[in-house]
């Protein structure tokens, strides 16, 4: 890179946002494409014109019913869950100052899933609307545990935190399986949900978790300037006037609300939260005022792309989105861990 020339306009905040506008627009365009694909593609593919007709009420055939009755809710839920997980991942990485952190690698998704399965077993719950607060409680428990385990090791080592979180995740998954095996009904109710899927849910499922999701998003976006300062280390952040402990707590609450809401609706969908920030950072940089909105686009983009892929690979049957993301996300984690330890 060459030295800056004198007289180049100083990069003020508004200028900076404008500079990134094309990228945001490109992201939105890509997301729109994914939405279109998600509405059109599947076991029974529908032409784009029929999709348009179905959406605007001019078609009433079987195809139209598939679009409006099944794929539209599925796509909307995918957008919401992807956004929640993407932003949760970015906040988790900022708060722990660890590029390997995410709702999956910190065991937060697994904690939420475990709490929900226990609730299904013990309290005979049967709808995602009832899951949300259990999911948040489980997410919070796992988040605290992962932090405590990492803190015992003295200085928090990024790989160690992710490793501890992954171990926690495995333990929670095995407990979850144990609870499910205790009772046939729990097994039936939870198995499909637990694979991580956005299909077979109506929009009614989304409504009850919306408050948690929106609250989590608002907290996350409000924190973004403080997260920028936090990236400079606790000492510098504190001397810049950031109440570090409080910001970290608020960030944790945002992650728990977002991950809890996502898990309640779709079950644990792995690696969206890990991948989205890493996809956005090379494009927009590390400024959280850009990164979080970027993840708001990248999260749904990744989730819908994975969901559509899952519908196409073994047609006419389909893979749950959670299985697709786990399949694609595991190598990504290995890659990132290599990069971090280097």
């Amino acid at each position: 890179m060459t030295a800056t020339h004198q007289g180049v306009p100083t990069t003020g905040a508004p200028f900076r946002a404008v500079r990134h506008l094309p990228l945001f627009l490109a992201g939105l365009a890509a997301l729109a494409l994914c939405v279109a694909a998600s509405l059109a593609l599947g076991a029974r593919s529908v032409s784009p014109s029929t999709v348009a007709d179905a959406l605007f009420g001019d078609a009433h055939g079987r195809d139209a019913l598939v679009v409006t009755g099944l794929r539209l809710p599925r796509t909307v839920i995918g957008l919401a869950v992807g956004a929640a997980l993407g932003v949760a991942g970015a906040v988790a990485q900022a708060v722990t100052r660890n590029p390997l952190a995410s709702p999956t690698t910190l065991g937060i998704n697994a904690g939420a899933a475990f709490a929900v399965v226990v609730a299904i077993f013990a309290l005979k719950l049967d709808s995602p609307a009832q899951y949300v607060w259990f999911a948040c409680a489980g997410a919070a428990g796992a988040a605290l545990l992962a932090q405590a385990m990492a803190r015992r090791a003295g200085d928090i080592d990024p790989v160690r935190l992710a490793l501890g979180g992954t171990v926690l995740q495995l333990v929670l998954l095995s407990w979850t399986s144990a609870v499910m095996l205790m009772d046939q009904r729990t097994l039936d109710d939870a198995r499909f949900w637990l694979a991580g899927s956005v299909s077979g849910r109506s929009l009614d499922v989304l409504l009850p978790v919306l408050p948690a999701l929106v609250l989590g998003l608002v907290i996350a976006l409000a924190l973004s300037p403080a997260l920028n300062a936090l990236a400079l280390g606790d000492d510098t952040a504190q001397s810049l006037g950031v109440p570090v402990a409080r910001i970290r707590l608020a960030g944790g609450v945002a992650v728990v609300l977002l991950a809890g809401a996502a898990v309640a609706v779709a079950g644990p969908v792995a690696f969206i939260g890990l991948a989205a920030p890493h996809l956005v950072r090379p494009l927009l940089g590390g400024d959280h005022r850009l990164l979080l909105p970027g993840c708001l686009i990248a999260g749904p983009l990744l989730l819908l792309a994975a969901d559509v892929l899952g519908r196409l690979v073994i047609r006419p049957s389909e893979l749950e989105v959670g299985i697709v993301t786990a399949f694609l996300g595991a190598p990504l984690l290995a890659l990132l861990a290599r990069k971090v330890t280097r």
Binding site: M1, G12, A13, S239, L240, G241
Partner: protein, 271 residues
């Protein structure tokens, strides 16, 4: 003389867990001056700086800024008056020099208030002053040690505080860059009238660049005052366990510590 920006410790105890690192310290750091905190390794220099800057809560006693307890101020209120450069700050991946320095404006901004002309002016001035304006679009993690340290000082300058605390700002730098950083600090003091408190390792540099010296030994105050009054052979012997002569620095006339030959390590004395 009562000056503003006077930082003081009153019966200050600082602990890490059970370990008392700084004990019963009473200290006044003159406002408008450059103070150097010196002492042997593990004497509590950096711990004292952490205590003075609120990074470490005192186990007993108080730290006051112009009489007000800094632990009763809000984080932001203190950040508007006191900047700090930690010994090993964390550099976020791929952040540019200007983006780093802009973060120094954090305490001046509100959530929805836009980046103001005053903010930009402070950033530009900090970059100019530290000679990093030409590097503003460079990633910080690709700079040399000296350039990086200047970028971090620029961040602390952009914060625009009357009081600046620096924890060993010259560690890991070669002599040229050490002098650059210290000259920069001296200029800040001389031109902008800032109060500077820094932890230093080198007694000669401390004597050259500081108006006021705080000498610590085992977490206790060994001596405090102007370098010329404080630094003598007896003090160096008692604090650092080094036999030496103290002569006037041929360049500046400030005290210069010259260790005696062969007497530093008895086992090293040749027959």
């Amino acid at each position: 003389m009562t000056t503003a920006d006077q930082l003081a410790a009153h019966g200050l105890d600082l602990r890490y867990g059970d370990r008392l690192v700084v004990g019963g310290l009473d200290l006044t750091l003159p406002g408008g001056a450059v103070t150097a905190i010196v002492g042997p390794n593990a004497c509590g220099k950096s711990t004292l700086l952490r205590g003075l800057s609120r990074l470490l809560a005192p186990a007993a006693g108080r730290v006051t800024l112009d009489g007000a307890d800094i632990h009763r101020m809000s984080a932001r209120a203190l950040a508007l008056r006191m900047g700090l450069l930690p010994q090993q700050p964390v550099t976020p991946e791929a952040i540019t020099v200007e983006a780093l320095v802009r973060l120094g404006r954090y305490p001046h901004q509100r959530l929805l208030s836009p980046w103001s002309a005053a903010d930009q002016r402070a950033v530009d001035e900090a970059l100019e002053r530290t000679g990093t304006a030409g590097l503003r679009d460079h990633p910080v993690d690709q700079l040399s040690g000296g350039q990086r340290q200047r970028a971090w000082i620029a961040l602390a300058l952009a914060q625009d505080t009357e009081l600046l605390l620096l924890d060993e700002p010259t560690t890991f730098l070669d002599l040229r860059h050490q002098l650059d950083v210290l000259d920069l600090v001296a200029a800040l003091h001389a031109e902008a009238g800032r109060t500077v408190v820094m932890v230093l390792h080198d007694l000669g540099q401390a004597a050259r660049y500081a108006d006021h010296m705080v000498v610590l030994k085992d977490g206790r105050l060994a001596a405090t005052g102007a370098p010329a009054d404080v630094l003598d052979a007896d003090l160096v012997k008692s604090v650092f366990d080094v036999d030496c002569r103290v002569i006037p620095d041929p360049e500046t006339g400030t005290p210069l510590v010259i260790p005696k030959a062969g007497a530093v390590r008895h086992s090293a004395v040749s027959a």
